[in-house]
């Protein structure tokens, strides 16, 4: 199950995500992501297809998870679930759903790539996916997603709570962007379990 893998990654990365968010915000990002994935996994039926996994997780993140990031992740899942529901669980529908969800987060958060948010991983990674020739090499995409997330270290926060600390956030990557890289880690392991050894260890993000 994909959400089991994402949950596993979020548990491993919990300490690091919390440390990153404490450096720039209120430190609850790791808690919200972990709690959201725990709750989602508990609600997903054992025989669920990928669309049902995303749709169930979407409802839980939208309705139950606190902070701003939780419901925004719910929006992403909502669009991915809807796209898979309409177009099957192949890569085309998955990429279309990720692109739609990324656009929704940008609309709602009124943020763009470069503002040091989760979009700084999602936006460029979706671009990578759209540019890739089929079949998608998910292991390579996930490694690129980690690179994009790490590159937020150099960015000055303009939106979100980190904007209140300004320059002091620079030097560490954005926790929200790292949380999205972990989603691509989970997608890579889900699509290609054999590639796991070529992926970063979620417990050692930075």
């Amino acid at each position: 199950m994909l959400m089991n893998l994402y949950h596993e990654a979020a548990e491993s990365a919990y300490g690091e995500l919390t440390r990153l968010d404490q450096a720039a915000g209120d430190g609850d990002y790791g808690d919200n992501l972990r709690a959201g994935l725990r709750g989602a996994v508990a609600r997903i039926p054992p025989d669920a297809d990928l669309a049902t996994e995303f749709e169930t997780a979407a409802t839980y993140f939208l309705d139950e998870v606190g902070g701003t990031s939780g419901p925004l992740i719910g929006l992403l899942f909502n669009d991915v679930g809807g796209s898979l529901d309409r177009g099957g669980d192949g890569d085309d529908a998955l990429v279309a759903g990720l692109a739609a969800g990324t656009a929704a987060i940008s609309r709602v958060g009124e943020a763009s790539v470069g503002d040091r948010t989760m979009l700084d991983c999602l936006g460029p990674t979706v671009d990578d996916l759209r540019a890739a020739r089929p079949p998608v090499d998910w292991t390579m995409v996930a490694n690129q997603a980690f690179d994009h997330a790490r590159a937020t270290s150099d960015l000055l926060p303009r939106m979100g709570r980190a904007s209140y600390v300004g320059q002091r956030a620079v030097g560490n990557p954005d926790a929200g962007a790292m949380g999205m890289a972990l989603l691509f880690w989970a997608l890579a392991v889900y699509r290609d379990p054999a590639g796991r050894a070529q992926l970063p260890d979620p417990a050692r993000l930075v």
Binding site: T68, P71, L72, N78, G82, V108
Partner: protein, 338 residues
């Protein structure tokens, strides 16, 4: 120390909503999970449902503005905190008309994001949704941030005027255009002489020396950028009128709203109103319609705000466009049937 009269330290907003819904059971009904208030009656011509919401502590805004001719639903958050997106989402599903639902949102980051998430969920369900963002507070105009002006008293005027337009059968695009016109022609400024009482500690939200005023105060207990020595009311009102008028488009007639911030008596508010009418007259601006009362308070803050909507030459916002229409919302029956 003046501890508020709450039945519980944690559930006081819910308790108040229960009491409110009991008191006005002929006009509204309360949903408790998630929390929103809904009108039980609407004009059959209305095609688009109107929903607003925001932090509690500004009553009667917004739940008191729910009713026939006004809002179809309101989503109240905790005191001074945005409602959860689920309140807005479920409230919107209940409020939506055949042509969708319009969100009237005050310009605060939390409100924008939570209403925005709800709007995405509604679109996902195939329900047409749009937003009118209210940002009228001139005290926050000059700040070098991306957040923009705060939304304050003009929200009440927008809700009334859009309610009338919705009852004429206006569609979503028409309501958005009218709402943006009204917002663009509305500005406010607020002052306070005493902070609100914190619901948690029972202490004042901030300390102010006697003889001083917070000039440009917000409605969430945050301090103003300026603390000034207290002038006469005539001088104070003249300064406020100039600040507001200088941020409005030109015109000769206004809708004037003198709002109490919660700890201000009607005697004080009508003193302010009379001074404001005179100050406008010397600037050759007529008060075409008016509203006086604590419609957008900040708990029990002692202070007031002045909001003006420039009416002419915009036909859409002229009183004939909706101010005098009939309505039946709890907070308005006394204040506006004239």
């Amino acid at each position: 120390m003046a501890e508020p009269f709450y039945a519980s330290k944690t559930e006081y907003v819910d308790r108040a909503l229960l009491g409110f819904a009991r008191d006005h059971a002929d006009v509204v009904e309360l949903s408790t999970d998630p929390v929103y208030v809904r009108s039980i009656d609407r004009d059959p011509r209305r095609q688009v449902g109107l929903l607003s919401g925001g932090g509690s502590g500004h009553e009667p805004m917004h739940v008191g503005l729910v009713g026939r001719g006004m809002l179809d639903a309101a989503a109240p958050g905790r005191v001074f905190a945005s409602p959860h997106n689920r309140q807005v989402y479920e409230g919107s599903r209940a409020a939506a008309g055949p042509a969708g639902v319009l969100h009237i949102v005050k310009n605060y980051t939390g409100d924008r994001i939570n209403f925005g998430i709800a709007a995405e969920r509604l679109r996902h369900d195939g329900i047409p949704v749009a937003r009118v963002l209210v940002d009228d507070d001139v005290a926050t105009e000059s700040q070098q941030t991306a957040t923009g002006r705060r939304g304050t008293g003009a929200t009440v005027l927008v809700e009334k005027l859009l309610g009338a337009a919705a009852d004429r059968g206006a569609g979503l695009d028409e309501l958005v255009a009218l709402g943006e016109t009204i917002v663009g022609r509305s500005r406010s400024i607020a002052v306070a002489s005493l902070a609100q009482t914190s619901p948690v500690t029972g202490e004042p939200g901030f300390e102010l020396e006697p003889g001083q005023l917070e000039y440009g105060v917000g409605i969430h207990g945050e301090r103003a950028q300026h603390t000034i020595a207290r002038p006469s009311l005539e001088e104070l009102v003249a300064r406020m009128v100039d600040d507001v008028v200088s941020h409005l488009p030109g015109g000769r007639s206004v809708l004037l709203f003198v709002n109490g911030l919660g700890g201000t008596t009607y005697i004080e508010l009508y003193n302010v109103f009379a001074e404001t009418v005179d100050a406008l007259a010397t600037r050759d601006i007529a008060v075409e319609r008016s509203l006086v009362g604590p419609y957008t308070p900040a708990l029990d803050m002692k202070g007031f705000s002045i909001t003006m909507t420039m009416l002419e030459p915009s036909v859409e916002t002229h009183p004939s466009g909706g101010w005098d229409g009939l309505f039946d919302a709890p907070a308005w029956t006394a204040g506006l049937r004239k």
